[in-house]
Structure formats: structure tokens, C-alpha cells
Amino acid sequence: MSAPLPLLQVSGLTKRFGGFVALDNVDLHVGAGERLGLIGPNGSGKTTMINCISGALFNDMGGIRFDGQDITRMLPHRRARLGVARSFQIPKPFRSMTVLENLRVPLEYAARARAGQRHIIDEAMELLESIGLKHCAQHNSAGLTQVDMRKLELARALAVKPRLLVSDEAMAGLSSAEVDEILEILLALNKRGVAVIMIEHIMRAVMRFSQRIVVLDAGHKIAEGTPDEIVSNPDVERAYLGE
């Protein structure tokens, strides 16, 4: 019996910015329903990897398959409709819209293709409740606090109703209690079968969350393994602490 195909299969991915190689021949895979941690020092290429997976950037070499389908040259909105969702490290709210309307967009566009049009507003409110933003549903999203903006960023990714969610430092700047809140949300989502790639600098969160961790350094994958294996990996220590 062969192993089931992974949900996401990134092979030999290379991305350059001019002469600078941001990702160099990186392989990455995520199984259906898996929880993967993606870590690495600043500038190691994590966000660039997410940009390539979500389609915000096209990679120069290598291939990306999602659910058996080649998505390497697919536009981002089509990937979103297939169920690839991402949150942005630097929040990008739809600033002219209320918090609720921010969720309507992915619900009406990305999720509708798969889930059909149910009660969009109800769904949006449920999502806001689960993430703790219900009280500001009618507020303008441009006026949110940094913390609430991060929550909105995550909520909007959830509104895509993803099969794979990539969360790019969603917990930066949150208090310890809020980090736990977000962790619970992501764990609950994962329980429903959604695969999650978590990019995070808060080690406590990544270690607790991830079943497997991939470490990037200067565009290279330098380690991969369970949280325990990663903690005791000398290469990883070197990358984080410097020589």
C-alpha cells in the first residue's frame, strides 16, 4: 500500500528577487488535516514560501500541487476557491469596510464556490464570535487596534473555509492569554479536518501546536522533524543563535 498523496506538495521550489535567492530548491509537504510548524529566523523566506503557495508570487522553479492538482501557475483567487487560505503577516484589512463586510468578501467569493450560499451574515457573525470580534462587527476595520486587526486577518482567512490554512505570524504582539485563544481556535479548526501551516516566532505556541516542524534558514530547509527532534537539532540552534 502506498502512502496517501499529501494535500499540499511543494517540490524544488526556488524564488529569486533579482539576483537574491529567497528560496532555494525547497521541498515541503502537508498532509490532509496535518499541523505543520514553519519556523526560521527573520528573512529566512517563510513569508515568501507562503506567497508562493497562495499565489501572491509565482515561483521561478519547482512545482506546487494541491490535492493532486498542479497549481503552480494558478491565480491566487482560484487557489482560494480550492481551499488555500492565508493570513497576512502585516494585516491587510479592507479598510473601507466594516469588520463584518470584511468577512463577507471571502464568504461570498472563495467559500461560495464550494459551500454554496447559505446565510452569509449568520456565518460571518459566528466566525466573529468564535474569534472574539463580535462586539465590533459593525465597526470600521481601519479603526481596529493592532490586536483586533490580527484577529480580523485570521477570521478573514477562516472565512475562506479552507482545507489548508496558512497563518503568518498571527500571534505577533498578542498577550499570552490571547495567544492561547488563537491556539484554541486553530486547534478546533484542525479538529474539523483543516490542515494548518503555522508560521510563528512564539516557540511555546509552535511547539505545542505542531505535529511536525520545518525550519528554514536563508532560503534553505535546514531541518524537519517532530518538535522534540527540532529542539535538540544542533543546526537549528546554530541558525537561531548564530555561530
Binding site: 497562495s54 499565489g55 491566487p76 482560494a80 497576512f88 467569493y109
Partner: protein, 314 residues
């Protein structure tokens, strides 16, 4: 505004227009009203792309002129009636809008704006050299004899323009609260985020440029009958393009009512100044108002009203 109230107001305005033609003879007023309505229609059209979608178009006059010259060409070739000419003008304007969108899909910000300007120049050059429609020397239009039950042809044109403008306002309002409208707003706010929310940004931008172009083509289609003599200078007038940008900015681009308010305000002032002072001052008025609003109230009149309401609430 509630839907019932909105449609009620539209119906009342239409009825008001009809009543006016029954009691008021003086053709001057219909001339002035026609120009104000034409500017309103252009402003509403501009706002679909400029306000809702966030792409600034400097070439509005070219779409308007395409509508006008479609009328000139088809009138000469086939002698079509006005309603068909308006449809044709809309179709040609929409096609040009689609073409513009297709060629500039990946241009952003100032580059897109410059491309619209370049497009306008290309189209004007083409029309100026097309002798069938009069080329640079222009073409005369005969005013048709029939004007339905109206007292004069200009009265009928005024009613036609009123109807077209109200239709455009209704479309713009429906659009702004629809799924499509939210997709356009998402593009305006952040294109990358819009894509990752599943919004097909390239396709929606095409829809937006096409609808804008079609509305402007419609606005231009009756113009040859209104002026009875069209040449590139009048049809591609910079004033048309400036008004189409300035009026939504002054009224407020974020809301469907913004361009309507801006056009009615600025358009009326222009018509008043035209008779009381001089028509040379028109450009000055819109220029000064634009500068004042951009510096003091970038959200336009709608933004000012909103701010005032919020302050009263809290």
C-alpha cells in the same frame, strides 16, 4: 436609503421632469438641465471605476466621444432612431472600456491613469482623421422633426437624459450593495488581499471598466443632437474629463450618492456662472472647488456629512 424610498424618489423626479415640460417653455432651461444631467451621468459612470474600484481614469472624454461619434456614424450610415443610437453608443463605449481594461489589467495607480490619458489621445487622433464622421472639421446633425408629445426637441432630449441618468444612478446604487460591488471595493482597498479572499480581480476590473465605458458612451450618444454640430474639440473636451473626476471627488467617491451630489452642486454653479458672469470661469470654479475639497475634505461632501453624524451619535 431604503429601497422603496429610493425608487419612490426616482419616480418622483421623473414625474417632476415630465411636469416641468408641461409648464415651462423657455429652451434655455432645458439646455442647462441637460448639461447638468449629462455631467451627472458622466460622474456616476466615472465613479464605478474611480470610486468603487479605485482606478483613476483621466480619459473620460474619449468614452463620451465614442458614444457621440457612434451616433454620428450610424445616423449617417443607417439613420437609426435615437433609442438604438443610445444602445449602440453604450455598446461601443463598453467595448472601448473593455479594451482599455484588457490592455491595462496589470497597471496600477498613476501608470493606469496615464494609460487612460494616452488612450484618449489615440482615439481622438483616430477620430480627427476619420473623414466619414467629419474628421477634424466636424459634422452637422439635423434635428429630427418628431419629438413625441413634447413641445420641442430639446425638451425630449432633456427627458431622455433624465431617464438615462436615473437609470445609471439606480445601477450604481445596486452595484454598490451587491456581491460584485463588495468585490470591487475589496480591489480598491487591497488587491492582494482581495485575490486571496477569492475575488477574481482581473475579471472584476474588466467588468468595472466596461460598465464605466458603456455608461459614458450612453452619455455621449445623444450629444450630437444636443449641439447639432460635433467636432473632436467639443466631443473630446478636456472639460468633460475634468468634470467627471472633480464632481465625484467633491461629492464623495465612497458612496453612490457622492457623484450625484457633486455633479448637481458643481454643475448648477457652472450653469449659473455661465449666464451671470462668463463661461470662461467654469473651469476655474471646478478647479478651485477640487483643490479646496482635496485638501480640506478628501472624503467629499458625503464624508463631511458622515463625520458630522458620527459626532452627533457619540
Amino acid at each position: 436609503m431604503k429601497s422603496a424610498a429610493f425608487w419612490g424618489v426616482l419616480a418622483a423626479i421623473l414625474a417632476g421632469g415630465l411636469a416641468l415640460t408641461a409648464v415651462l417653455e423657455n429652451e434655455y432651461y432645458y439646455n442647462a438641465l441637460y448639461l447638468i444631467l449629462q455631467a451627472t451621468l458622466m460622474a456616476v459612470a466615472w465613479n464605478i471605476l474611480g470610486g468603487f474600484t479605485g482606478y483613476v481614469n483621466f480619459g473620460s472624454a474619449a468614452f463620451f466621444a465614442m458614444g457621440a461619434y457612434t451616433t454620428v456614424a450610424l445616423n449617417k450610415a443607417l439613420g437609426l432612431p435615437l433609442p438604438l443610437l443610445i444602445l449602440a453608443g453604450g455598446a461601443v463605449g463598453g467595448l472601448v472600456g473593455f479594451g482599455l481594461g484588457y490592455l491595462t489589467l496589470r497597471l496600477k495607480g498613476v501608470y493606469f491613469a496615464i494609460a487612460t490619458l494616452a488612450m484618449a489621445i489615440v482615439i481622438e487622433t483616430f477620430i480627427s482623421n476619420w473623414t466619414y464622421v467629419g474628421g477634424a472639421r466636424g459634422a452637422y446633425m439635423l434635428t429630427p422633426d418628431q419629438h413625441l408629445w413634447f413641445n420641442s426637441y430639446i425638451q425630449m432630449l432633456f427627458m431622455v437624459m433624465l431617464l438615462l441618468t436615473l437609470a445609471a444612478v439606480a445601477i450604481s446604487r445596486m452595484l454598490s450593495s451587491s456581491r460584485l460591488g463588495r468585490g470591487l471595493a475589496a480591489i480598491r482597498d487591497d488587491e492582494v488581499a482581495a485575490e486571496s479572499a477569492g475575488v477574481p480581480t482581473l475579471r472584476l476590473k474588466l467588468v468595472s471598466t466596461t460598465v464605466m465605458g458603456a455608461m459614458m458612451g450612453v452619455a455621449g450618444a445623444p450629444f450630437p443632437y444636443f449641439v447639432t454640430f460635433v467636432d473632436p474639440v467639443s466631443a473630446f473636451n478636456l472639460f468633460i474629463a475634468v468634470n467627471a473626476i472633480a464632481m465625484p471627488m467633491i461629492g464623495g467617491t465612497g458612496h453612490w450618492i457622492g457623484p450625484v451630489i457633486g455633479a448637481l452642486l458643481v454643475g448648477s454653479m457652472q450653469e449659473i456662472v455661465k449666464v451671470t458672469v462668463s463661461s470662461e470661469l467654469n473651469v476655474l470654479i471646478v478647479g478651485v472647488m477640487l483643490v479646496v475639497f482635496i485638501t480640506l475634505a478628501p472624503q467629499g461632501i458625503v464624508g463631511l456629512v458622515r463625520k458630522h453624524w458620527q459626532r452627533r451619535k457619540s
